[in-house]
């Protein structure tokens, strides 16, 4: 009988009877060392990269101006010191003229800049206007104050007031009483059923 077929394991034992080379252990040690060095290098690179990113983020945060992003629907609240124009969207807002008096043609800008007596003003409504429009209005107000822009006197809007004496005492309103005729009930009339009423 064939020896090979009798016990294939015996052949396998012979086939696997190889020995590691003498430098096997040395190679393992050097590979371990290389792997450790690579790990350390990666750790250093990763840590450095993280630190650089963190520093860059801090520097950017300090150097970049902080500004709120302008959104189309965003509205700015303007204090009542700003001249307020009548707005189609807010008809209840009244026109409030600026604190400066309109320069008359022929007068110098210095005349306009002379200090005016401060008068207490009545509180004016706070109006919401888009930021761009608010900026334009503020610039216009400054230009008017500096005399860079002149508006003819007849161009200022006027508020129509009712004719007559505004200081006259108000007349009491007369209320006419409403008179209702009494309801007459006819006993001869047939009683209405709920269905008929409908």
């Amino acid at each position: 009988m064939n020896e090979e077929i009798d016990d294939p394991l015996a052949d396998l034992v012979t086939a696997l009877s190889i020995e590691p080379s003498p430098e096997f252990a040395v190679n393992v040690r050097s590979r371990i060392e290389r792997a450790a060095n690579t790990r350390i290098r990666w750790w250093v690179v990763r840590t450095t990269a993280l630190a650089a990113v963190a520093v860059a983020a801090v520097v950017l945060r300090w150097t970049m101006p902080v500004s709120a992003p302008e959104r189309p629907g965003q509205m700015a609240s303007i204090a009542s010191t700003t001249p307020v124009l009548p707005d189609a969207l807010s008809p209840a807002v009244l026109w409030a003229p600026p604190a400066v008096s309109p320069p008359v043609a022929g007068q110098s800008a210095d005349h306009v800049r002379q200090p005016q007596p401060v008068r207490p003003r009545a509180p004016q409504p706070e109006v919401l206007v888009p930021p761009g429009q608010a900026l334009a209005l503020q610039r216009l107000a400054l230009a008017l104050q500096d005399g860079r822009v002149t508006i003819p006197a007849d161009a200022w809007p006027t508020i129509d007031t009712p004719a007559g004496d505004a200081d006259a005492p108000l007349k009491p309103i007369e209320i006419v009483p409403v008179r209702l005729d009494p309801i007459v009930i006819d006993p001869q009339a047939p009683e209405a059923t709920p269905d008929q009423e409908r």
């Binding site: 294939p8 396998l12 696997l16 190889i18 080379s21 393992v28 792997a35």
Partner: protein, 179 residues
């Protein structure tokens, strides 16, 4: 405070020394096992050593959990087997370069004996290659270092009865294939 730090540093150094010493012992003890297991798959001495070295490098990384000798050898066998299979797949892709070293007779025999031995080796390896993985690893481990069924069971972390039945089945199949 300084005393505590000194004691802690000394403890760490001594533990590290102990680990290094133990690893050296395992390396000397299990190098042959790893190389043979790898060789049973890749059939090339140089590739087998490469695979076994890689397995030892990985074992070193996880050595704190593998200080127990039996645990270490079992882990090493499984890791080497897996790495060897990966290496063989890679080698197949690059173009097979299996060794003609798998001889069953000494190389310094006459040419006729060597030829016959090579032929037998080729038939044996091709028969072993047809076995399923779970039978193949049992046969290979049983053929290395005179491992008994208990040793194989310990290395593969499976019951001894399972090893016996798998070994029996593997032998039967090999006999059939080599007829």
């Amino acid at each position: 405070m300084n005393e505590q730090v000194g004691r802690l540093a000394g403890h760490l150094v001594s533990e590290s020394d102990d680990l290094a010493r133990e690893f050296e012992m395992r390396l000397a003890d299990s190098a042959r096992l790893a190389v043979r297991v790898a060789y049973s798959v890749v059939r090339n001495q140089s590739d087998a050593e490469d695979v076994a070295q890689e397995a030892f490098v990985r074992a070193h990384r996880a050595f704190r959990q593998l200080r127990d000798r039996h645990r270490f050898r079992a882990w090493l066998v499984r890791m080497t087997w897996r790495l060897a299979l990966d290496s063989k797949r890679g080698a197949r892709r690059r173009g097979a370069r299996e060794d003609s070293v798998a001889r069953l007779a000494p190389r310094f025999g006459n040419a006729e004996t060597e030829l016959l031995a090579n032929d037998r080796a080729a038939r044996l390896w091709s028969a072993i290659d047809t076995l399923p993985d779970k039978l193949r690893v049992v046969v290979v481990l049983a053929a290395i270092d005179g491992h008994g069924t208990r040793d194989v069971a310990s290395l593969l972390a499976i019951p001894e009865g399972t090893v016996k039945s798998r070994l029996f089945e593997a032998r039967q199949r090999l006999r059939e294939l080599l007829q």
